[in-house]
């Protein structure tokens, strides 16, 4: 099909971006799915979106691609839930097996709310900075910083066995945290 200069140029750009994002995307999806098959299915969806929306991909493509992957993953889970509702247990998120014996931290992470958990994973596993986390989540960089700050605080609290920031207080604390 690569018959025109426009098509060839598009293929070239796609391959260039894919080269940069394919491996990180695989890891991103494997961290958040039950098995490699699921991850591969979603990866194919992500690549198709990337191919179709190639003109929209920013220069810093990886966080944008993570954002797409996040959406595809959510679609995939919705589809799975529709298909398999009540047939088998479907947690909102698969529980990934820790690669370590740090059970305290693993347990603390698991006890957090999904939003907090995700922001911590993007920070520690995808190694993203708050401004990149912002792109993935579709929020402002400032909001991403606040969320990350709050999530680390809650994680630490879980680790020492008490939560100093119960749900419901965060709105009031937000302004204070934004300044830190």
């Amino acid at each position: 099909m690569a018959v025109t200069p426009a098509h060839a140029a598009r293929r070239e750009r796609f391959e260039l971006i894919a080269e940069q994002v394919l491996e990180p995307l695989q890891r991103y999806l494997r961290r958040r799915t039950d098995g490699a098959d699921d991850a591969d299915d979603v990866l194919a969806d992500v690549l198709l979106v990337l191919w179709r929306r190639l003109d929209e991909v920013p220069a810093e493509s990886l966080p944008w691609c993570y954002g797409v992957a996040r959406g595809c993953l959510a679609n995939h889970r919705r589809g799975e839930q529709r298909r398999l509702r009540l047939v088998r247990r479907l947690a909102a998120e698969p529980v990934t097996t820790p690669a370590t014996d740090d059970l305290d931290l693993s347990e603390a992470l698991r006890s957090l709310r999904p939003d907090d958990r995700e922001v911590l994973r993007l920070w520690a596993w995808e190694q993203l900075a708050p401004r990149e986390i912002a792109v993935v989540l579709g929020i402002t960089a400032n909001a991403a910083s606040i969320r990350l700050h709050r999530a680390t605080k809650r994680l630490r609290a879980e680790l020492i066995g008490k939560d100093p920031l119960p749900a419901g207080q965060e709105a009031g604390r937000q302004a204070t945290e934004a300044g830190t």
């Binding site: 099909m1 018959v3 025109t4 200069p5 426009a6 098509h7 598009r10 293929r11 796609f14 391959e15 894919a18 080269e19 394919l22 491996e23 990180p24 695989q26 890891r27 991103y28 494997r30 961290r31 990866l43 194919a44 690549l47 198709l48 990337l50 191919w51 179709r52 990934t96 097996t97 820790p98 690669a99 370590t100 740090d102 931290l105 693993s106 992470l109 911590l120 994973r121 920070w123 520690a124 596993w125 190694q127 680390t152 994680l155 630490r156 680790l159």
Partner: protein, 207 residues
């Protein structure tokens, strides 16, 4: 435990520590090829597009158009002439395509019917307006990849006139046009509807 230490400790929980399939692997290569085989141009006018791959002949198009006109007329009668403006069959549909950037035309594939045949979008149309860098064509026949009544061709960048292979498009003239990924193909794959190009389109797309 400071942030860096916490981040490092968290990173050690990463369940995807096992290596990903490298982009150089056969699996990755096949995956990318499969992705790129998805033909975007079948969706140039997806809101109103016919089923992909549908390739009616001229007679089929004429009879379909006639049927649509009858349906539209019936709908108007049934609606009692309320004129809501939402009678879709009566509304003209428009697709937008880009003209190739004159400065970007660096290399051309040699023209052949075989190459032409692979073009995902092909139609015949008459130019009804030329306004600076924007040209509107009334579609007289869809060979492939669309169903809109009109196609608007826009020139990318800062160019002040709409041209194809360095020749300006002219009002009232008939053209045969192919496109890939939303961009009109130059290099002789689109142009004035000469007898020669018409034969090539008929041969490639079966009329």
């Amino acid at each position: 435990m400071n942030d860096d230490a916490l981040r490092e400790r968290l990173a050690r929980l990463d369940p995807a520590a096992s290596p990903a399939d490298p982009v150089s692997s056969r699996w990755a290569h096949e995956l990318l090829e499969r992705t790129m085989a998805n033909d975007l141009s079948d969706h140039v006018d997806s809101p109103t597009a016919a089923a992909p791959g549908r390739r009616p002949g001229r007679l089929a198009v004429l009879s379909a158009a006639a049927a649509a006109a009858v349906v539209a007329g019936a709908a108007a009668v049934l609606a009692g002439g309320a004129g809501t403006g939402e009678d879709r069959p009566a509304q003209a549909t428009t697709t937008r395509l880009s003209l190739p950037d004159p400065l970007a035309m660096s290399s051309c594939v040699v023209f052949s019917t075989d190459v032409l045949r692979d073009m995902p979008v092909a139609f015949a149309g008459t130019v009804t307006s030329v306004e600076g860098d924007t040209v509107t064509l009334d579609v007289t026949h869809w060979y492939k990849g669309g169903s809109a009544d009109a196609v608007v061709l826009e020139t990318p960048g800062e160019h002040t006139s709409a041209s194809l292979d360095a020749v300006q498009l002219e009002d009232g003239k008939d053209y045969l046009v192919t496109a890939t990924e939303g961009t009109v193909n130059g290099c002789g794959f689109s142009g004035p509807a000469t007898a020669e190009l018409s034969r090539a389109f008929d041969e490639a797309f079966g009329g």
